[in-house]
Amino acid sequence: MIEFVIPLMLLAVSAAALHRKLDVFTLLTEGAQDGVRLLASVAPTLIILMTAVTMLQRSGFFSLAAPVLAPACHLLGLPEELAPLLLIRPVSASAALGVGAELMRVYGVDSRIGRTAAVMLACSETTFYAMSVYLGAAGVRRSRYIFPAALLADLTGYAMAGISVRLFFG
């Protein structure tokens, strides 16, 4: 079933565009150019932050910090290998992408850890970034209860990532 969601969606979107007498192919290639621009803006951050993250990983930081980080993971029902992703996800989208991709590569993209990492990446946002953009736009300094509420939403998402991967992939 799920295999057909994407192809059917591609078909439906293209049909809707044709119905409006739009040039679908040109729109696709124009959009792909946006993709190139997006990539050009993400890649430098990704490369620099992956440099720092890899230094941190190989230095043994995460095994030193494990006594502190592991309980947090266990509390959320996640494998402790995901601790680095848990820390970086709300802070930087590029770094989280790098850390997540590395976890998927090391433990296997279709393993439980790999899948959970992918779901964690997908079911949450870069909370700190989004908060600072919108609070800046509103021009307010006091954020009232936004931070605890957003953090609670994030933690729920991470915990559910672990639960749903176990649920759907056994």
């Binding site: 979107v13 679908v24 951050t45 230095s59 790999g114 600072s132 953009v133 209860y145 991967v165 759907f168």
Partner: protein, 192 residues
């Protein structure tokens, strides 16, 4: 923000390298990490471009406005005050619909205008409960098609890059629900 993160990472890496007495490998790790960053960027580039193309078609085909119309009744109940102002409410529906479709480029400008409009209405120095809820919804992910995560999976040779869809939908729905409930709870508590 990222400068601070960079410095903290470097200091922690150097310190733990010294403490753990490992073979002083952070120098090599720096170069290896940069190469990994470039590899990841390259491996997701194809899927990212394809999906940006689809996003463009969705936007031009009017899917954004149709979804916004569909969401109106639900959002009207969550944001009763903003719903009274037609301009503000259509910006708000547009932002959340764009987030749902994964149209990041469209979502952020709409969101910024929504926030400014809402802030004008509240007038006072503080921020209203509805504005808090709106920002919480924007920090939680509402995306229907997780294109970046799927691109990474595809780049690493997953059997089916999109087989995580049900898990992602369930997790993000619970996350958004938790955000809304938390915002409502805090709003009720702080009012008294």
């Amino acid at each position: 923000m990222l400068s601070a993160l960079w410095i903290i990472f470097l200091i922690c890496a150097l310190a733990s390298d010294l403490i753990s007495g490992a073979p002083y490998c952070v120098g090599t790790a720096a170069l290896a990490g940069a190469a990994r960053g470039a590899e990841i960027a390259l491996s997701i580039s194809g899927a990212l471009c394809l999906w940006s193309g689809v996003n463009r078609v969705m936007e031009q085909a009017g899917l954004l406005s149709r979804l916004a119309a569909l969401l109106r009744p639900v959002l009207g109940r969550l944001f009763p005050v903003s719903a009274c102002d037609e301009t503000c409410f259509s910006l708000l529906c547009g932002n959340l619909s764009a987030n749902l479709l994964g149209l990041g480029n469209a979502a952020t400008p709409l969101g910024i205008r929504t926030v400014q409009r809402m802030q004008q209405h509240s007038g006072s120095a503080g921020i209203s409960d509805e504005l808090c809820l709106f920002i919480v919804l924007n920090t939680a992910s509402l995306q229907l098609i997780p294109s970046t995560a799927a691109a990474v999976r595809a780049g690493l040779g997953a059997v089916n890059a999109f087989d995580i869809l049900p898990a992602v939908w369930l997790s993000s729905a619970c996350s958004v629900l938790a955000g809304v409930l938390a915002a409502r709870f805090f709003a009720a508590v702080t009012r008294r």
